[in-house]
């Protein structure tokens, strides 16, 4: 296969990954690494590098819209970035000395976990009035627009949320993905902030988190321009379009299909790793 054909195929694959990633809310990064490795036979290190830069691009594009609409909590995002950037550097440094086999297995676990998370029902959390003193100190309690008007919310358990965000940062640095699933877990389940705020704030932090590991990856030669170009230029318009398409009830079916695809890719990665080849 020559470079032109390869680039076109990778572009189409990335466009689809970005589109479905945005529709289902799982993000394109978690799909692009297994797509490049299992279908295109790309070495996982090049795949991680290409995925990472694409994740920065989609995060920036989406965050711009979310901030304007008033969903993302910019202060909370900036505070949590302390945890995610430090985690991302740790993850990127670990990635440069663990084996490709270990990376594949960690990725498979993250894929299975993401598939599981995407199936969980999304509930807006009932607001309790107890307030976290740290959250008040950092002025994190804010409000966001809803169809009924502006709604207030409070941030809980900041230290635990901070810890989970650090782990999300490590995974992001290790695998070159946004690890939005883990970030939403930290904000949704631990800090108990509204779903709309947690997903958008998570997106806001992904750009900086990925930039933190990008420096390490660039220096180690993981970011290849010839591969990253079609991946980035594919995921970005795909995600842009995916965010604007209304699917309504069909989203649920799509989520299930997407989870099955993730599971199959995870199983294939485990199989190839255990079978010795890659």
């Amino acid at each position: 296969m020559n470079i032109l054909e390869f680039s076109l195929l990778v572009w189409m694959g990335s466009f689809t990954a970005g589109f479905i990633g945005a529709l289902t809310g799982l993000g394109g990064g978690v799909v692009i690494v297994p797509l490049l490795t299992s279908i295109f036979g790309v070495d996982i290190r090049y795949a991680i590098g290409a995925s990472l830069v694409s994740v920065i691009a989609t995060s920036l594009g989406a965050a711009s819209t979310y901030i304007k609409k008033g969903f993302a909590n910019v202060r909370l995002g900036m505070l949590l970035e302390v945890a995610t950037t430090i985690g991302a550097i740790v993850g990127a440094l670990i990635a440069t000395f663990v084996s490709v086999k270990a990376l594949s297995i960690v990725l498979a676990i993250v894929l299975i976990y993401s598939a599981y998370l995407s199936q969980r029902p999304k509930l807006e959390h009932p607001q309790s009035q107890s307030s976290d003193s740290l959250a008040s100190y950092f002025k994190l309690n804010s409000s966001y627009p809803t169809p009924e008007g502006l709604m207030s919310y409070q941030v809980h358990s900041l230290p635990v949320g901070f810890g989970v965000m650090w782990v999300a940062g490590v995974i992001s640095g290790l695998l070159g993905i946004g690890s939005g699933a883990f970030k939403v877990l930290a904000m949704d389940q631990v800090m108990r902030i509204p779903f709309k705020v947690s997903t958008t704030t998570s997106n806001f932090t992904i750009g900086v988190t990925a930039a933190a590991s990008a420096g390490v990856y660039l220096a180690r030669g993981y970011i290849d321009p010839g591969l990253s170009m079609p991946v980035m230029l594919g995921i970005l318009p795909g995600a842009f379009l995916g965010a604007r398409v209304l699917l309504g009830a069909k989203t649920q079916i799509l989520r299930i299909v997407f989870s099955v695809v993730l599971l199959l890719m995870a199983l294939k990665m485990v199989y190839t790793s255990l079978a010795g080849g890659f």
Partner: protein, 149 residues
């Protein structure tokens, strides 16, 4: 990219109506100004970086499109594309891969610039706990770019 639900897609009114809820946390004008600035920075940053990558990409496909693709074996990207300064040199000398890589570095610079602008804004607002927070993030980012080598 994360979840977009139907209300996000439908678009909300520009001026937020305040719900009949007395105890509400309303964003201050300076918060809103900073948000507006950051939102535009992210939008134009990503458009500019993508344009550079696209330009380099077209050149790359014209010049090297017929060569065989080989990403099966990891050799590491050539050293000239592994540090911001050498990438700039390669791009200025007309290398198509150098131009793509320059676009990718510009892209990485956008979130870093976002942190720098936030830091300056918090300094002006004399919000010192957030000056600390953004400084810590900036130190981590600088370590990654400089110490990663």
């Amino acid at each position: 990219m994360d979840k977009f639900d139907s209300s996000v897609r439908r678009g909300l009114p520009k001026a937020y109506e305040v719900a009949p809820n007395s105890n509400i946390n309303i964003k201050t004008t300076s918060d809103l100004q900073l948000e507006h600035l950051l939102s535009n920075l992210l939008k134009y940053g990503v458009i500019m970086a993508s344009a550079v990558v696209l330009f380099g990409g077209i050149l790359y496909l014209i010049r090297h499109g017929g060569e065989p693709a080989n990403y099966h074996v990891f050799q590491g990207t050539p050293l000239e594309f592994c540090s911001p300064i050498s990438v700039l040199k390669a791009a200025l000398s007309g290398s198509s891969r150098g131009i793509i890589q320059l676009g990718l570095i510009l892209l990485t610079a956008v979130p870093i610039l976002r942190v720098v602008i936030s830091l300056l804004a918090f300094l002006v607002l004399q919000n010192f706990s957030y000056v600390m927070v953004t400084s810590l993030v900036l130190v981590a980012l600088m370590y990654s770019l400089v110490g990663g080598h």
